[in-house]
Symmetry: C2
Subunit: 164 residues, 2 copies
Amino acid sequence: MRLTTKGRYAVTAMLDVAIHHSDKPVRIAEIAERQGISQSYLEQLFANLKKNGLVCGRRGPGGGYQLGRKSKLITVANVIDAVNEKVDATRCGGLKNCTRSAPCLTHDLWEDLSTEIRGFLERITLESLVRKKTLAGEQFIDYRRIALQKKKAEISSGSNLNGN
Amino acid sequence: MRLTTKGRYAVTAMLDVAIHHSDKPVRIAEIAERQGISQSYLEQLFANLKKNGLVCGRRGPGGGYQLGRKSKLITVANVIDAVNEKVDATRCGGLKNCTRSAPCLTHDLWEDLSTEIRGFLERITLESLVRKKTLAGEQFIDYRRIALQKKKAEISSGSNLNGN
DNA sequence: CCTATACCTGAGTATTTTAGTGTGTTATTA
DNA sequence: TAATAACACACTAAAATACTCAGGTATAGG
């Protein structure tokens, strides 16, 4: 799970589509102008987003992009994964470097942390982000409370990872 | 807040120092061997970590690095910031690109998300990560539960765990 | 049917970041 | 004083980022 400017571009673009949803699809040219991102670069990003089913494109005049599914079902993690694609993450595929004295203790720690971060970003949906702002009155609506409620349910079962 | 392999190296190295804490400082050569990272590269990372007061170095034989303050007071966000240093984050410093039609709505959304992620990583300390593993019996001790407990207090909605 | 539209594809490129090597210098301890 | 290990700086290869350019393809409207 990498969190770079590339991912930010993708999330920003997806938010733009989510916000300007109507009967008409959103054109890439619009997004490029509104967000100040190169059009061709956006096209590359959307190619990956489409490959992952996060958007669907409609060609020809009046065409553009629409969300591939409900914004409620699109997480920030989904978007970031779509544009980063293929992060082998571990560097040691279970066997390599980890033959040293301590059998990769800190590596496991990082893995756990990484899992936490991922889980966090999986709980944040486009919908929750958009809703937070469009209901301008309350400043923090918010999805943390919602995530917490969900967590409460999960926790009894005890989320854990395997050891190694 | 970028989350790259560089940050992972830094966190990994800091964890290594935190784990192998004793009267003697931890040598960079040790860390390099245990974690399979280039020694000179680690030296560069530690230069930044030191600049931010996260570690302090001791020269000469028997020297090495120690944590600059208690592991309880060192967050993952601290470490990542130290090695990434100077991420202007916004790209538009409040004035630039954002002169377009919508005054940077999605930008604000990303900012909020970014703040959330940062807050999340600020709640995870080296101590919590190390404790989780050294108490090897229970597999997930864990800081999520602790964070949740804290959250519950904030929200002031007492309820308890339910099955899943 | 034609044409403008807007998605789609792929190749190429400049800049930045990552990850590392290499050569020293300085402080400290034994 | 000699070994040690931090510290400092210059340099490099490879990768990722952030584009540009040059086309191709499906589609709606005239």
